[in-house]
Subunit: 300 residues, 2 copies
Amino acid sequence: MKGVIGIDVGGTKIAFGAVSPAGDIILRRTIATHPDDSFDQGIARLSIGVEALLGDVGWDVKEIGGIGIGCPGPVDTEKGVILSVYTLPGWSNRAFAAPMSERFAGTPVRLENDANAALLGEAFAGAAKGKKSAVMLTLGTGVGGAVLIDGKIHVGAGGAHPELGHIPALVDGPECPCGIRGCYEIIASGPAIAEAGAAVGLTGSEEVFTAAAEGHEGAQEIIARVAKATETAVWTILHTFLPDILLFGGGIADGHWPLFEAAARKSLAAATLARDEPVTIARATLGNDAGVVGAASLVL
Amino acid sequence: MKGVIGIDVGGTKIAFGAVSPAGDIILRRTIATHPDDSFDQGIARLSIGVEALLGDVGWDVKEIGGIGIGCPGPVDTEKGVILSVYTLPGWSNRAFAAPMSERFAGTPVRLENDANAALLGEAFAGAAKGKKSAVMLTLGTGVGGAVLIDGKIHVGAGGAHPELGHIPALVDGPECPCGIRGCYEIIASGPAIAEAGAAVGLTGSEEVFTAAAEGHEGAQEIIARVAKATETAVWTILHTFLPDILLFGGGIADGHWPLFEAAARKSLAAATLARDEPVTIARATLGNDAGVVGAASLVL
């Protein structure tokens, strides 16, 4: 086997990677996502992308170990079905793995949710390599999460995944559609920070971080709430999953790592019941590649 | 195999059960725990208990499938070592399974933490029977918990177990030695309810529940906080483990089940992200037998 193909299907673009058996991306391709594509058009576009990448890297389809695909929303990993993707409405509840496999000489095709794929990528070749259990919090447009236990993605009741972004984090926070006030996402996602900033005359989450660093009191209060909510979310993870490693990823956490690291370490230091445990706090290292590498790891 | 022996080692008493392959307790024996016993005395007392039970039930040691033991504190299940038991100081860090096995003709002896054993009992023959994933909250002198994922007890970093009693539950609650204010245990354990009751002239947790039912305003406030903290703890479990079943056990939850059931169902109904998922909320059904049955299930 020369390698595998990993695909990360996002809301705006689809990233393809030719991935070595060690988890290195040898060659990349990116195309735009066309959310209005029919299912057949989507399959066709994905297939053309895979064919082009195979041609560029010089691999025959019989030389690859398979195709792994990470995509938004819940998936049935056993049946290879995307269950419900509001960003790609035409793709919902369709068997995806089987027709892709047929187009590529029966090569194995496996699906996974994108947040889970990112964690699998970090576990295969990134910050969580060699760890048996890991929790990853991804802070960006929303706050997502994924959980690895005994080397396997944790799946909840009915095949749903955990919603770590909606851990109770700040009792007096804004109301979230999830059903409570002050969940982690409604405090610490990019749009949440931006919305809180708008109330004190700032535009966008980055301006809030910058203004806080420059002494703007309203901005500092917002950032202090993000830190406090992070402490609580981390505390909860330490007293529930108690993973070998807790990873932070996504633009918000990556761009302001010292803030998130300090909050997480403060919680870990205060947790008397967990203090002797070897819990690592770290930043995800694969960035945008995590999804492609994790998707690839499904067939490696 | 006629059956197995299950032993539940508690702080005040040790319960022995001769357990059928189906998980029914055929015969019981109980002796007092002597916390000051040396390790050798402890092994001897346990062995005498097992021998007496075998004699009473009429099983030869060669006819049993093994001996399972649940005990307080962390255990190394692979090595059969009790790691640290402050209620039984002489027993800490001692290999326990091997000498017991030797005394009983090499029959398998397995250890498990008592909270985990109780959940295993419920999963084997109680309220969680047939469920692949389960979380159990036990409310009594403290608030403990155990987690079953894919039919296996979830173990955290360094072999430690989760501390579900210390989930953040009420931000303005009293300080807990765990390191935060307002964790679930510091609001909802028996002693916590009793302490809050003492501040309004009531004695003991049961008097608080009774006074609340009779219209005592201070007591009603305390019980309302217990309900609110339960809602938050349940919310957290739904958004982290998202188990097939969430069980409540222990004297406090068992004695006041309608309160805990209502709080848990309120959280489940409000959780928009989990509402279509088949999460069962239930009361543990084996009561004090759960530990013995769960210990037995280790060797069944």
